[in-house]
């Protein structure tokens, strides 16, 4: 049973579609990786899935009910159930790491006691290997540390689905590997669903359970990692071969 069902979805800007008539499912407890060439609409699709860009047509169905992107209540419900890791971390520079991670708690659990909040923030920082960094500000951290802090913020509410936009972009290979391992561990340990946008084959190999390849405004391939070997689509084969060559 899927956690998100996408049917007939068209997304784009100013009425001009970037992707049209998309149909796919996101399965729970798996890492689904959205891949495609630059400009293929990966980030645009992600924006719609996280409620920042209303679709031009079609539906995103969460737990059997289509999300009404104009309804504040539907969006609030969506935001209470998802976490988002942005490409450049998007931590609030004016807030300390503690305040950054506590922010979703303060919004969604306003009655939580300060001691519980502090415990939860410390636990999340511990999970991502940043224990004791509560008082630091984002600008005092390296790119990899900021990404890990952003993971902690994305997961502080124990979301059902975590969306990640190019999590390893701008990181050195060692840090990127560490971050991928962290995402995979968190997925396994907590049974969370991950939807990751990336174009790095190594990262795909390390974390993907399922792959969604976008090409020419449509889904070109959707299936498990194992299905890649069975596909006869020359573009899909060439894409992964090309990406692999480029990566190595």
């Amino acid at each position: 049973m899927e956690i998100i069902r996408v049917r007939g979805l068209s997304v784009g800007y100013g009425g001009t579609p970037v992707l049209e008539h998309l149909d796919f499912d996101i399965l729970p407890g798996r890492v689904t990786v959205i891949v495609g060439e630059s400009g293929s609409g990966k980030s645009t699709l992600l924006k719609t899935l996280i409620g920042l860009l209303p679709p031009l047509a079609g539906a995103v169905v969460l737990d059997g009910r289509p999300i009404d992107f104009n309804s504040e209540e539907d969006l609030r419900n969506l935001y209470a159930r998802i976490g988002v890791l942005f490409q450049n971390s998007a931590l609030l520079n004016s807030l300390s790491l503690y305040e950054n991670i506590a922010l979703p708690l303060r919004i969604h659990r306003p009655d939580q006691a300060p001691a519980e909040e502090a415990k939860r923030v410390a636990e999340m920082l511990g999970r991502v290997g940043l224990q004791g960094s509560e008082k630091k500000f984002p600008y005092e951290l390296s790119g990899g540390m900021r990404k890990r802090a952003a993971v902690a913020r994305a997961m502080v509410l124990d979301p059902e689905i975590v969306f990640c936009d190019e999590p390893s972009a701008g990181l050195d290979p060692i840090t990127a590997t560490g971050l991928d391992a962290l995402l995979k561990d968190l997925c396994k340990a907590h049974g969370m669903t991950f939807v990751v946008v990336t174009h790095e084959l190594r990262s795909i190999e390390r974390i993907a359970d399922r792959i969604l390849l976008l090409r020419d405004g449509a889904v070109r391939f959707h299936g498990g990692l194992g299905d890649l070997d069975k596909t006869k689509d020359p573009y899909v084969k060439a894409f992964f071969l090309r990406t692999a060559n480029h990566d190595h």
């Binding site: 996280i50 935001y79 209470a80 942005f86 450049n88 004016s94 303060r106």
Partner: protein, 249 residues
């Protein structure tokens, strides 16, 4: 057509801010604790040196320019009337508003536009935070609380400029000068000055927020948006001042 869209966006943001501020004052939710105090420090404490300096200099300049003319007609003591009314009713609100546009408005636009470019605004939305409330309500409350203090300081310093010139240039004793000021300036004039400046402050905050929130993506646009916000804020202040002049005279 684009201009109509911009006007619509501005007034939509303005009405949203009124709604969010009213809601926050009732429920005290959706804003970071301590944000109002932090903004009061940023807006009030950091702006008061430049505001006091400028109003003092304006007080001195207007006094010097007027003194020579008044002396010709033997109307020296009317310098106090002129400076008192001009500073308290018109120049202090206007100069404070313009200084707020440069000092506070520019920093609001730069901060919000940078947050937008760095995806921080989107991040706030996906956490269920309303950025227009989270970022703007503390600023609106802070400017409302800071303006009376800034205006009182600016009034005092502006009048001090007049007293200084009156003493040095026309030989008017400070006590006589101040007695004349209190004779012609009513409490309502003083309160009107505060009220006008408060409206200018709200215009600066909303105008600057509008310029920050509605940039299209791109770091290069942050600078343009910041300068545009100062121009917009000053235009709004002068436009509003004109409306006040029509209504009150």
């Amino acid at each position: 057509m684009k201009h109509f869209d911009n006007v619509e966006k501005f007034f939509t943001l303005f009405s949203d801010e009124l709604y969010h501020t009213g809601r926050y004052l009732r429920r005290r939710q959706g804003v970071m604790p301590g944000a109002v105090v932090q903004q009061m420090f940023a807006m009030g404490y950091r702006s008061f040196p430049i505001i006091t300096l400028i109003t003092f200099l304006v007080g001195v300049t207007i006094s010097l320019t007027s003194a020579s003319q008044l002396r010709l007609f033997g109307a020296d003591v009317y310098l106090a009337d002129l400076i008192g009314l001009a500073m308290i009713k018109e120049l202090v609100p206007l100069m404070t508003g313009i200084m707020m546009a440069g000092k506070i408005g520019a920093s609001i636009t730069a901060e919000i536009a940078t947050m937008k470019v760095m995806d921080e605004i989107d991040a706030l939305r996906t956490m269920g935070v309303v950025p227009e409330k989270f970022l703007m309500v503390p600023r609106l409350i802070a400017i409302t609380l800071c303006v009376p203090l800034l205006v009182v300081l600016a009034d005092v310093v502006g009048l001090a400029g007049g007293v200084l010139v009156g003493r040095l240039s026309l030989g008017i004793p400070p006590l006589v000068f101040l007695k004349e000021v209190f004779r012609v300036v009513a409490v309502s004039d003083f309160l009107l000055g505060i009220g006008k400046t408060m409206v200018f402050g709200w215009a600066v905050v909303v105008g600057s927020g509008y310029k920050g929130f509605f940039i299209s993506r791109g770091a290069e646009e942050v600078g343009t948006a910041t300068t545009d916000s100062v121009v917009l804020s000053i235009a709004l202040i002068i436009g509003l001042d004109c409306v006040f002049a029509f209504v009150l005279n």
